[in-house]
Symmetry: C2
Subunit: 203 residues, 2 copies
DNA sequence: CACTATAATTGAACATTGTTCATTGAACGC
DNA sequence: GCGTTCAATGAACAATGTTCAATTATAGTG
């Protein structure tokens, strides 16, 4: 047989992931690129392409960790069963997370390459887990047999918040409003909750 | 004195703008770059930098035209004074616009360069004009003396819709929901309207 | 131990962007 | 004509992602 790899592919990916996180923490998203990661790992650029199909895959892994960390943070929020209170509590934790890990959070909203490929399947799973968490919070607003409405409502909320995050990530939130990030987010959640109540009552 | 320019700067910018629009229409956003624009104009890349400070400025001009066209389209919607009906009518026109001019519309949500500079002042003006239009639609929901609430409500709506557009622009809307663009947009507007009614009633 | 086959690793090179700037040459005043 | 000026040029640079022939370290073999 041939030359043995120093590390398995999975080990190497972990090392690369750590290197990427370090770069983001120390220098920001701007300096996250193939050469920087390779150099910090002490390997050549070619090795990165031995481990990953391309930079997108590494970015996806970093984003995966971010989604995991978010899910973990939100999971720790104690729920009372009252949707309004719970959603506000979750939002507060959410906001703290976004502010605390601003850089890696914003990586979620960066498009690194023009040829946008679909993220890997496990990526959807992590997002689905966040949806599930929100569904648990909002479930009391929806009676049994209305799971489809619940699912749609959660996704609407997610999309709205995506608007907030993505504008904020590009520093464009200030173009639209003078309110700070947290005020906008809270306002949005409040309007949204009022809307759910209203539409639920109407149905 | 010295050599006379063939076209004034403003004329040149118009020509460049037309070239950019042609490229977008024929080949898509992906192929919009300095060399393509220069080549289509029959000038060298250097000339582009004589006219613009960089590609961002040209992109901003294209986006300016898009915002103008959107405003013109929405202005043509006849208003009845009933916020729900009017907002739905505006949304329909909005959706038609987004679908019809998909490519240039999506340029609004592309970040071309890492060093994100603030857009020029006139850009804000065009967005403000759209806000004003929406404020006119929603004004009846807010009594006099509640202009601040009205302004904030319009901006919330805008940010929510931004979430829809920006996910859609990156082909990521399907990751979040199975519903098509127009269904999501309509659903969002409905929830939002219900929320406004609810919060207005509460205040 | 020497040798070879094998496969991981390398890094120079390519492609594609945006951007700069010394050079060129056309048009104007004299 | 002629020199001056300055728009126009395009080669060159920088920074990315990506490829792949060459290298090299290791495992197996005699």
């Amino acid at each position: 047989m041939g030359r043995r790899p120093k590390h398995s592919k999975a080990e190497f990916q972990k090392i690369a992931l750590a290197a990427a996180q370090d770069i983001i923490a120390e220098h920001g998203l701007h300096d996250l690129n193939v050469r920087a990661v390779a150099s910090r790992m002490g390997v050549s650029v070619g090795t990165i392409y031995n481990i990953f199909t391309g930079i997108e895959e590494l970015v996806a892994l970093v984003n995966g960790e971010t989604l995991d960390a978010l899910h973990a943070a939100l999971s720790r929020v104690p729920l009372t069963g009252r949707p309004e209170a719970d959603l506000h509590a979750v939002l507060d934790r959410y906001l703290a997370f976004v502010i605390e890990r601003e850089r890696s959070w914003n990586l979620l909203f960066e498009e690194r390459l023009p040829g946008a490929k679909e993220p890997p399947a496990w990526y959807f799973g992590k997002i689905a887990r966040l949806f599930a968490l929100l569904e648990r919070v909002l479930a009391p607003l929806f009676g049994p047999g209305r799971e489809a409405d619940l699912a749609r409502a959660v996704r609407l909320l997610w999309i709205s918040m995506h608007g907030v995050w993505s504008l904020n990530a590009r520093g464009q939130l200030a173009i639209v409003t003078d309110d700070p990030l947290d005020a906008v987010a809270r306002d949005m959640v409040d309007t949204y909750l009022a809307g759910l109540r209203g539409r639920a009552a109407a149905v």
